[in-house]
Symmetry: C2
């Protein structure tokens, strides 16, 4: 007689999940994000680029022509590694980061998120260590948790990763017998910290990782979006064999095609191709051909410069509003990208405050989302990429009202109110993907 | 003094890979597939649909209009679960399989391959068992190996999966303490076997799985492509809570958008959404909106019927050529889909013969690709989806010449020649993704 286990009343398959799946939980702040996307709420939470200046008519013409002239190719399966025209165009884009690679070194992916997912798949056994900045990108922490990695944070300052601290972290991990598989880093216009790794430190970081024989995974979605300058040389340009570089068209063009890439040392790149084939067979042909045509038929770097202007203006609106309305806070001063990282006055818990902020029609991401170890409640990430300057000013003003009320509460009762129905944070919050 | 391990001369990161990555190997037949894609070679190997009858002008107009009128949405990030219009359209498509689900039950993925990958990610810990037909889809076996599953095959006949044999397999696995996580099955126009699960057996398969409390993963890319008939009711329609259904637009429309889906019981579907977000953030908005518009503005079911006619004609060309040129073989008689499964005369090894077939300008997939346990060398998969009827006839004729030469060799020397430079098969061959 067979009496198999029958799960739970709510989920008959509960007993069948893999270990990793039990860690997949919908975040308690997810419901808030649904509320935060209401039109009356000013969202300073999202990571959606502003696409209003894209040349849509030209992009429409590209698509129509591709489908009319090369439709049976554009709608067919393609190579798992990506189309050669796409990879050659990516090689040209990477020259702006001082990277000189061959099209063979590039693997096209469904956004750079997939490249990150598959690099992690290739390197991480449960319990392996990934070293990442404190704080780090929420979408990366989610991937790392999915593969049951242990994330160890290493500190940053206004010049980005601190080489001596990284050396110390890696030495300590080696001494206690931990297997560090890679350093995950966002050197340019960090998400969420808003800082960049200085030129002087780039070689130092390479040297530290080389000393410990630790691979670097360099995530660079915002590199071209410096407000006043072309990009600094990528870590990949300084150490071609020691770095897997992740690139994306989501911020320098648009996320809707879901085209990103990895440029990786030979053996890793071959494994990545096998991993892409297993995960999705191949990236979209039509999307690749469309992005390639855009790069070839449009002055795409002028569009990048236009984005820079727009984001600079929005960043200025945010920083000046912070100065005006929130002098009791501190924040980083981004020179590019989408985000500033705000330190709250003592006693305020960003996560506990969030529901009350949403009630006051303003949203942000609690700092706790960006740590694997439960820290970050004294911070929040504010993004200036999507709302207009006026909306940003209104949002910061509303936020100031919320923080003022929290401080009054603390003064009255000695402590902040807990969030309604809030449960203690366990690991990483997972905002809606629109919001990362 | 830190002396970290430094990999190998060819790959400095060799020591860093995850256990699963050491199993990722490029197939020895991969080089052959590069040769097989030369224009002078007739490929009966590929699984590429024939797209020549698609209404490309109309599809081009859809794309252009979408980008002009809704460009900032089409090129933006979207929901990890997929757009609601897309999911509602998918619900309508599934009605042809007698499935009545809600749009909330659907998760949109980057082709159904990604749905399969993520279902496996959610359920499989290393060593867990997946039961699959013998033979099974090569792309699924690759995914299962990636997650370090143990695949146990269960037999089919001309009516598909054999319920009593499945019951026996599951009982035996339970008795030896193996944890069976799901049955992976392709009930309609099986790849590679070319057979379909009969109506009478569908409820029996459900009953066997229910008795053993084993989830069914029903992969149905070819369901609408029956030559003479509408689809039989899906397993999902008979057991909504016991089946994860995987669907795809690749064969009923075109693969280039990379849009597929899973329809899954509540708790599984919620985990799938989290898995999609982690893997790629969200599927392409532009692709989803394009496919939705195609379904809404074109008589897509007439296009499906046109595909059926084309594939029926090609299938007839193949079956009649097999009768004419290869009477010493046996083969299945598909009533839909892309493939027939050929049993070779005794003594012929399909894998060893392949390089010689390619020299004679014809290609197929060796049966060994479709088994996780090294079997299948007495079979080959022939596909009739992509080449024209005349090319198919020419290909089968060439194949007959190759087989004749092999039989003569066997008669002369008592054995077939080994393949040039061939190494023994280890597990699953991985054809180029164009070819699955």
């Amino acid at each position: 007689m067979i009496i198999p286990s029958r799960g739970t009343r709510l989920d008959p398959w509960f007993d069948s999940y893999a270990t990793r799946a039990h860690g997949m939980r919908s975040s308690e702040i997810r419901a808030l994000f649904a509320v935060a996307s209401r039109p009356e709420v000013v969202s300073l939470a999202g990571g959606m680029p502003n696409l209003s200046s894209l040349p849509m008519d030209h992009i429409a013409d590209i698509s129509a022509r591709l489908l009319k002239e090369r439709g049976t190719r554009a709608l067919q399966y393609g190579s798992g590694r990506g189309e050669v025209e796409m990879r050659e165009a990516i090689v040209e884009v990477m020259r702006y980061d001082a990277i000189h690679q061959h099209a063979d070194d590039v693997v096209v992916t469904t956004g750079s998120q997939q490249a990150l997912d598959l690099v992690t798949q290739i390197f991480i056994d449960p319990g392996d260590v990934i070293v990442a900045e404190a704080p780090s990108y929420v979408g990366a922490l989610g991937v790392f948790r999915n593969y049951e990695a242990e994330v160890v944070h290493t500190p940053m300052d206004d010049e980005g990763l601190i080489p001596a601290a990284l050396d110390e972290t890696l030495t300590r991990l080696y001494q206690i017998g931990k297997k560090v598989k890679f350093l995950y880093t966002i050197p340019n216009y960090h998400n969420p910290a808003g800082v960049s790794l200085s030129l002087a430190r780039r070689q130092e970081i390479i040297d530290v990782c080389d000393k410990h024989h630790v691979l670097i995974v360099e995530d660079n979605p915002y590199g071209l979006l410096g407000f006043d300058s072309d990009p600094l040389p990528a870590l990949k340009s300084l150490s071609p064999d020691g770095v897997v570089y992740l690139g994306s068209f989501s911020k320098m063009f648009g996320p809707g095609y879901r085209i990103g890439w990895a440029a990786a040392p030979h053996a890793i790149r071959e494994k990545l191709v096998l991993a892409v084939e297993s995960a999705i067979l191949c990236p979209s042909q039509l999307a690749q051909l469309s992005v390639t045509e855009y790069l070839e038929t449009w002055d795409w770097y002028s569009q990048v410069k236009r984005y820079r202007e727009e984001y600079r203006e929005r960043s200025e609106a945010m920083l000046s509003s912070l100065e005006k309305y929130l002098p009791q806070c501190q924040w980083t001063k981004p020179t590019g990208g989408f985000y500033t990282w705000v330190t709250l006055p003592a006693g305020i818990d960003a996560k506990a405050m969030l529901p009350r902020a949403v009630t006051k029609r303003v949203a942000y991401v609690s700092g706790t989302a960006f740590y694997a170890d439960g820290k970050g409640s004294d911070h929040m990430r504010l993004s200036f990429c999507y709302p207009t300057p006026d909306t940003i000013r209104e949002g910061v003003k509303r936020l100031a009202g919320v923080i003022k009320a929290e401080l009054e509460m603390i003064e009255l009762f000695g402590t902040q109110l807990p969030a309604d129905g809030d449960t203690p944070s366990r690991g990483v919050d997972r905002p809606h993907p629109d919001q990362v």
